[in-house]
Subunit: 214 residues, 2 copies
């Protein structure tokens, strides 16, 4: 009776099992995968109608899966399923070309409906996402992000964001304090921040540095 065929991609086996249970009635779960390579292989070989995709995967992100599949000329629809409602994650996935973005915490019974919507062509999003989806252009535009820094500048950021003083950073990099100051000045301009403190926060949030703890 031709239920839509879908693939589940998530690094948590338990969550895949849960999703499978909700989806079993209306969909045919043809494969599951726990990392990027597995996922691409599974999707390419099964050519499903849709993929339920986690954003954070070991060995990469959900976006890598999307580009991997597209590179293999396989066409199917992708729906993101993430714990994170973080703006950067959402932007990244939408730019990768996913067809829906759902937040794990806000759905249970409605999951099948939302997946079906995505397969039909509309774009279902969780309420948390819908909120800032409206000004997502702003978000993308105003993101003067880490990428536009030169290698040397990035290096400076890494030390400064970890709490190094200008002097300590200079010593570590074998340059003069004045050079570090100049770099910082340029970094401030490029990232649109005004102090090393704001810079540190930005660096943390964008995952450039990953809080030494743990």
């Amino acid at each position: 009776m031709s239920k839509p065929r879908i693939v589940l991609v998530d690094d948590h086996e338990i969550l895949r099992a849960g999703a499978a249970k909700y989806l079993a009635e209306r969909f045919d779960v043809v494969a599951e995968a726990g990392d990027v390579a597995e996922a691409v292989a599974a999707i390419v070989s099964t050519e499903p109608d849709g993929v339920l995709l986690d954003v954070h995967l070991p060995s990469g992100s959900g976006a890598d899966v999307v580009s991997g599949v597209r590179a293999a000329n396989v066409d199917c629809r992708f729906v993101c399923l993430s714990v994170s409602a973080d703006k950067r994650d959402v932007v990244k996935m939408l730019q990768a070309g996913v067809d829906g973005y759902l937040v794990k915490s806000t759905l249970g019974d409605r999951l099948p409906d939302l997946v079906a919507e995505a397969l039909d062509g509309s774009m279902p999003v969780s309420p948390q996402i819908a909120g800032f989806l409206l000004d997502i252009d702003d978000a993308v535009a105003q993101e003067p992000s880490i990428e536009q820094l030169s290698p040397r500048e990035r290096e400076v950021v890494e030390y400064i964001a970890r709490g190094y003083s200008y002097r300590k950073t200079a010593e570590t990099m074998f340059v003069s304090v004045k050079t570090v100051e100049t770099h910082m000045s340029h970094i401030f301009d490029k990232l649109g921040v005004a102090s090393r403190h704001e810079l540190a926060i930005r660096a943390f949030e964008s995952g450039l540095v990953d809080g030494g703890a743990s």
Copy 2:
């Protein structure tokens, strides 16, 4: 036939469904809950043998559930199930008195066994956790953490960590800049940091402040 009775606590309905599926054969899932209040109520009223507990819950943490249940004089075993292998989370839950700590990514089929182990009295932990569980005493001991600060000092930290200058902080707290300086000096000593920048990073990492952006 008296299967052990357990309660599932996690804010993701899908994950509960997945866990339930894995556990159904060997356990009797008597209740599920999605937040702290629900969880405590469910556990107190059903008095299960064990609880599978997420660390991060809306409206609180898993530790709140443990203390809530203990306060009601209900005795049962708790097993943590978290996406996070963060040292602080683990320490917090172990101090709250959980009987096992599992990381979501590293288990599927083995879940029932591990839960059974916890109910039997041993303490199952995921490999990621076991690693630093060995020197957890060090971790706790060498954590010259926020707790040892006086209330007023904590207040200062909150502003400084958010990027306030000494002057702005002083104005906001209706004290002189010199007072803020003194507090900071004491804070530096107690936390073993040397500058407001290190302090900000520490506060950021330990979740005392939560990066205003986004």
